[in-house]
Symmetry: C2
Subunit: 345 residues, 2 copies
């Protein structure tokens, strides 16, 4: 008797699966957006080839740091998902910085930069680490003096910023880096193909995980084009994470706004390429994606996700890994006798 | 009367210049060799595409260091002439190493590696900095455990070393790095074109400098394909340089051979791309190429070169800058939950 029922039901199954997939897809399409193939334009900062090329050089040039050892790429390694592998980044003098380095990939789609959103765009962001004493430990005067005394750079700045009387400036350094960083997008993740109408781009488990992600409430903070990165939320809405994961001393956006309601508030990170950017959270204290999902469940949703839900969610998160940017390592203009020397102290 | 002579002599001048150029060229061709366009083969270590690609990844992978912050490229920056800009390299814990980092470019043509020649080839060399406590501070066991627990690597090692039962080994890491490094050659310097029979590849000043370089005796140690790199010589044959430039504690090759005659003996460095690799000498204490030429004159030749000789020599040395290798930044296989974590201490 049982055997017969199975035979009768089998022809219906593909249709059922399709219907579920289509429903999941419709919901997903209303919540998320695929990454466009083309890098976005920056208002007021045109991405000419000369400027992008200059930005790529500056991104890789350790001479933006006083030690001449640390470049943007040190903590935002383009071969490692646009981040480093450190709990919190290590900078000048081997000092540990206060927070985990967010990936530079797709950062152009974030509402603002840094975990606390204190930089409104990539251009403003780029000036931060260059000057931070625990990162590159430099200052605008030294950066400009260095760039002006590396014989190849002035002509490259002139080409990137035509019409400027004095093109080698700290602002223009940041503008060039911004347009280069805006090219660091990762389209073509399996999930992007799914959002673009290909149900087979995600397997059954990934689709189930996507369902969990939307139903349990993760997508409320992690939605949109960057699956996050669009707004600020308290870390520990329902349950305060351990002091290791959410150190008491780092009050997040409160340090920027000095507003009580911003205590322990952070920008929800983008989850794109999240499988590549361990460890997790602003403290970098959680190494496995599975553990990170469990922490999010309790801290933000007040629920204990079961083993299957966690595994399915992780499977879905892995489908957010997109096509990584291919980058030619730039040949940097050589130093000269006039270039300031590195300072390690 | 004078005017007439000038008019009479003028038609002869180009012929005179040609004769001098030809003589200089013949002498140079007997002393130096151009860099071939193609990277040299390594005996017993075939450069398959899979192996070179793997070597490129390993060269850029900071996970060969315990901190997961330092890669081969940190001190041998392919955008900066294959070296760093430090007096002596900075490694684990911001420690200063004992000697200036020699460029990796054209290193395959050196008789042996390191300033004291203690590694017979690039394969042996590659194992040194990985294990040095002041550099990458790792060990073969940790490196192999790390590489085996980065899910993408085992298949890449299998492809690079087909037929090995256990391809992920410390030796194979070094072999892959060696074949990649052997591709880092810089042909097509103006001087190579000159050696290949194009007199106009060097201007008059550069040719005069080349003449000084050969006549005064520089070429005795800095000859051959690498304009150096072929043999060992005491630093301070005629005059002992200052203790800053030749620190008393670094006895050079004596540390390797324990032979009295090897005290303060070093491998003559290659002068290819020397204009890109300041600062100079094993101590890295001399920043300008001009000063370096003056030091060499007194220390090795026992002579005070005059201003013109120094400037002409520098002009010639600048003609040794070749076509820098173009390198795609490799996408590194991502870490997993099993990958050992970075250790900063």
């Amino acid at each position: 008797m049982k055997g017969k029922w199975i035979i009768l039901l089998l022809p219906l199954l593909p249709g059922c699966v399709d219907a579920t997939a289509k429903e999941t897809m419709s919901k997903a399409q209303a919540t998320f957006k695929p990454i466009p193939a083309q890098a976005p334009a920056i208002k007021g900062n045109e991405a000419t080839k000369a400027k992008v090329d200059l930005g790529r050089m500056l991104f890789f040039d350790p001479r933006l740091s006083t030690s001449q050892l640390i470049s943007c790429n040190t903590c935002h390694n383009v071969g490692l998902g646009g981040a480093d592998l450190q709990e919190t980044s290590v900078g000048h003098g081997w000092q540990k910085g206060p927070r985990n380095a967010p990936t530079v990939f797709n950062a152009v789609y974030n509402v603002a930069q840094f975990w606390d959103g204190r930089a409104k765009d990539l251009q403003t962001q780029a000036k931060g680490p260059v000057q931070a004493s625990v990162e590159m430990n430099s200052n605008p005067e030294l950066v400009v003096r260095t760039l002006k005394n590396i014989p190849g750079y002035p002509a490259l700045f002139e080409a990137a910023f035509p019409g400027y009387r004095d093109p080698v400036t700290f602002d223009n350094m940041a503008k060039a880096i911004e347009v280069f960083e805006a090219t660091l997008v990762t389209p073509d993740a399996p999930f992007d193909h799914f959002l673009n109408g290909e149900p087979s781009a995600l397997n059954a488990r990934e689709q189930t995980g996507l369902g969990v992600f939307m139903e349990k409430g993760c997508a409320a903070c992690h939605g949109g084009i960057n699956i996050g990165g669009a707004a600020y939320y308290p870390f520990g809405v329902r349950e305060i994470p351990t002091a290791e994961i959410r150190p008491e001393s780092d009050t997040g956006r409160f340090k920027v706004t000095n507003t009580a309601s911003d205590k322990y508030v952070f920008r929800a990170p983008s989850l794109r390429n999240v499988a590549l950017t361990q460890p997790y959270f602003h403290s970098g204290k959680v190494w496995s994606l599975k553990d990170a999902v469990v922490v999010m469940g309790s801290a933000q949703l007040g629920m204990k996700l079961n083993e299957t839900e966690v595994n399915d969610t992780v499977a879905f998160l892995k489908s957010l890994t997109g096509k990584q940017p291919k980058i030619d390592y730039p040949l940097l203009p050589p130093s000269s006798d006039q270039t300031p020397h590195p300072q390690l102290k």
